[in-house]
Each structure stands twice: as C-alpha cells, then as structure tokens.
Amino acid sequence: MSTDFKLNQNNLSRRKFIGIIFLVFCLLGVLVAMMGLISLLIQVILQGYEWVTPNLIFNYPSRHPEQAGLWPALIGTLYMMGLTALITVPVGIGAAIYLEEYAPKNWITSFIEINTSNLAGVPSIVYGLLGLSIFVYFLKLERSILAGSLTMSLLILPLLILASREAIKAVPMAHREAAFALGGDKWQVVKMAVLPTAFPGILTGVILALSRAIGEAAPMVAITALVYITFVPVTPMDRFTVMPIQIFNWVSRPQDDFRGLAAGGIIILLFLLLSMNSIAVILRNKFQKRSEE
C-alpha cells in the first residue's frame, strides 16, 4: 500500500512561478489604484503650489486671482464641521448604543438596521435636496450654517451609526457578562465595560464620517446656492460657503489663474483632511494600546 505513495515534486519551480505571477497581479492592482491618486496629487501640487500663499488662506474672494483667497470658505468649512460633529457624534453614538445594547431583537430593529445601511448608500445630492426642503424652507433656517450642518449630519449619521455599531458589536460578550456578574446595571455595563473597548473603533467611525463631510460639494450646492460670500460667518444663522464650493467656483471660471487658485485650494483642503485623519489615527493607536497591552 505505502509503496504506491509517491510525491511528485518535479513541478516545484512551476508552482513557485504561479505564485510569483499571482504576486505580480496583486502588485499591479495596488499600482493602478495608487497611480490614480498619485497622478492627481502630483498634478494638483504642480499646478497649485505657487498659489498656496498667505493671500490664499487669509484673503476674501476677489475677481483678481492674485488677491483672491478662501478665508470665508475655510472658516465656513471649519464652522460647519464643528457644528456637524456636535450634532452627529452624540446622536450617532447614542443610536448605535441603543440599537446594539438596548433594542429588542425584533423585526422593527432589523428594519431600522437594514435601512441604516441603505441610507449610507444614498447619493449625497439627495440629502442636499432633502435639507433644502426641510431645513432651509420648511423650518425656515434659511441658507444658514445650521441648515448646512443639519444636512451634513443627515448625510453622515448612517456612516457613523454603522461604524459605531460594528465597534460595539466587536466587544466580546464575556466582558458584558463579567460586568453584569459583578452587580453592574445596564448603563454601568455599557459605560464601563463596552464603551472603553469600543472607543477606538467609534473614534475611527467619527473621523471617517467627518472626512466624508468635509469634502462633500453636492449637498452644499443645494444648501448654499453658490452665492458669492465676502464675509466670515459669525452666528450659526449666517450665510456661508465651504471650501469645495469655493474651489468649484474657481474651476468654472475662464481665466487660467483661477485654475491654479483652485489647485491651491485643493492642497489646503487635502491638508485639512489629512491632518484630521492623522489625529484620528494617533488618538486611536493611543487608546488601543491602553486597552489592549
């Protein structure tokens, strides 16, 4: 019986070759994906680097490219992001905690679950129009920062709820049981055993959701109506514009210089986005280390 057993290892080099082909294939995939991003970055930086000046950051929009800046749009973006975070974070995390920890497991809950996922996939312009009719016209908030923030909140809430739920779901059942067995009530268990472990994941969700919001132009087109804003918003009821809109405005102008200006604006927007993400990564790593090692 055992004499029939024979391994054919003559094709070892062929097997290795197939492995290498697969590796090359995967590398190509990465390369194609990276190429798009890198070529975009290079083009933007080449076109825009000489336009990134204090003028661009601190000046108001102008008809003259060399004097034009995006100060109102920059402040508008930061203002709106702050308000959006204030609205989204408590509501989103609260909803996620309710759905994961408190909600009874019945068809209503699963209906809500499915639709949260569906909402995350709705095109952003739809949210823009929804915000326009509800917040701007129906609630008479006008084209204010508040209306913009509420609209953005609607847009990113499903993302945040999904991410937070995943983070909460990933907390082992054993942690909850241990806390219950020590005489914790529901909220103590959630607060002391579930949330600390879920926190890094929730934080990632918050940042990803906010990064999505910072770059969105389509819903802001509907809310801000692309007006020419030459003042910095002060109260949440002021009219405003955001960076993607300002960039969009510059790109659509005929003069070449405005395209350079737009590229400069993109660099600043990317810088803002990347620093937000880096802060998130740093915070997350810090908390993850604290909770795992």
């Binding site: 241990a178 005489g183 914790g184 103590q188 472990t197």
Partner: protein
Amino acid sequence: MNNEQNQPKDILKVKNLSFYYGTFQALKDISLDIEANKVTALIGPSGCGKSTLLRCFNRMNDLFSNAKVEGQIIFDDLDIYSQSIDPVLIRSKIGMVFQKPNPFPKSIYDNVAFGLRINGFAGNYDEEIERALVQSALWDEVKDRLKDNAFSLSGGQQQRLCIARALAIRPDVILLDEPTSALDPIATVKIEDLVNVLKKDYTIIIVTHNMQQAARVSDKTAFLLSGEDRCGVLIEYDYTQTMFSNPKIKETEDYITGRFS
C-alpha cells in the same frame, strides 16, 4: 459564625425550579439545598443544564430575553426571583467566575477595582484590592505590576484575577462555571487549591465536567442528567464521598465510573 459552622446551614434553597428558554424546557423541577461554607459540585454530561442551573443562582439567565423561571431559589430568606428583588443586588452578593478567563482590557488593579467602583465602594481601594488578590493567591505574582494590563498575565493567572475580581466585593457565594476547562494541569491544581481555601469564607458552587475534579474539591455533589427531551433533571444529590463510593442510583454510577456515553 462558629456556631453556624458546626451546624450545617443552608444558604441557598432551590425549590421546584424549572427553567425555559422560550418554549424549550432546560431544567425540570429541581430541588436542592446548598450548604454554607461548603463546595457544591454540579456534574453531568454536556447539555444536562448544569451551567443553566448555576446561572439561575445569580439571575444571569435574565440576560436572555426569552428566559422563564418557575419555582423558587431562597437566599437569606428571600426568593431571588420575587418581583421586588433587583437582580443587580443579587449579583453583588453571589459572584461568578466564567469558563474562559475574561478579564477586562484594563490594568490588573482596575480589574479588581471594577466591582468596587460599580457598587460605589467608598473605602480604601488599595487595601481591598490587596485583600482580594491575597485571597486569590495572586498577590505575590502581581504586587509589583498592578498597573500592567491584565492580558499580560498567563491564562491561570487571569482566571485567579477573575476570582479576585469576584472576591473584591465580598460576596457570600461564588459560582464557578467550569473554571479550569481552559487551563493547563498546573494552573488547574492552583485553582483547586484555592477553592479549598476559599470555602472557609465563602460558599462555592462549581460546575465541572471533570469528575476527578468534583471528587477532589467538593463536599457535596449534584448529578444532573437530561433525557430524550434534552431537559435537565436532578438525578442524585449527596455528600461527594458518599456519592462517589456508593451511588444510590444506577445512572449516577454509570456516569461516575465512565460507563456513560
């Protein structure tokens, strides 16, 4: 206290307890009394309901939304399943240690402090935490590294940490749900030695699938078995020595001599 130790006192009395998950009956008409400051072992084949019974003692089964209990468990003259009793209070009196060590991803110190914090302890935390760790025979191994994460401990140490965590809030009863099934033999011996020491101060109920362990650590043993309907019933309950040397019921004898499939 001395007086009580001389005369056996029943700290927990189970009366005609039946337990259901939805329509499935997991336990049928169980009655037994748990003696204070003794180790009671619950043994039986997989799925006989011994863990379910254990979780009835501290109302952990309440966490399943479809759980239903009939009958009574009397603890300190109170029926723990009566409407007026808050399970949260029961669980601070009847602690539990689980099958797999489940420390929180926090420091050793914070793990032991967890129950104290939850229950609003206002005294000296350092003292209580040292006491709990000494009692669980872990103090010497961790006293210089209390700030280290609990996951840096070995499996056996983690399980003793979980015992310390349960001891910290000074429960009357400790429930151990197969506490050594995830541990190596040396760590198992340490936990068993610990159980022997702890029964001076606590009443211990231990679920085990290991009959030698039941024989080694327990004073009394309850043997549960489930029939065709997968519903657990109490077959025999007696002093461990009596039961292992002279079982009265044939099923018990078959099980403890290993003739049982």
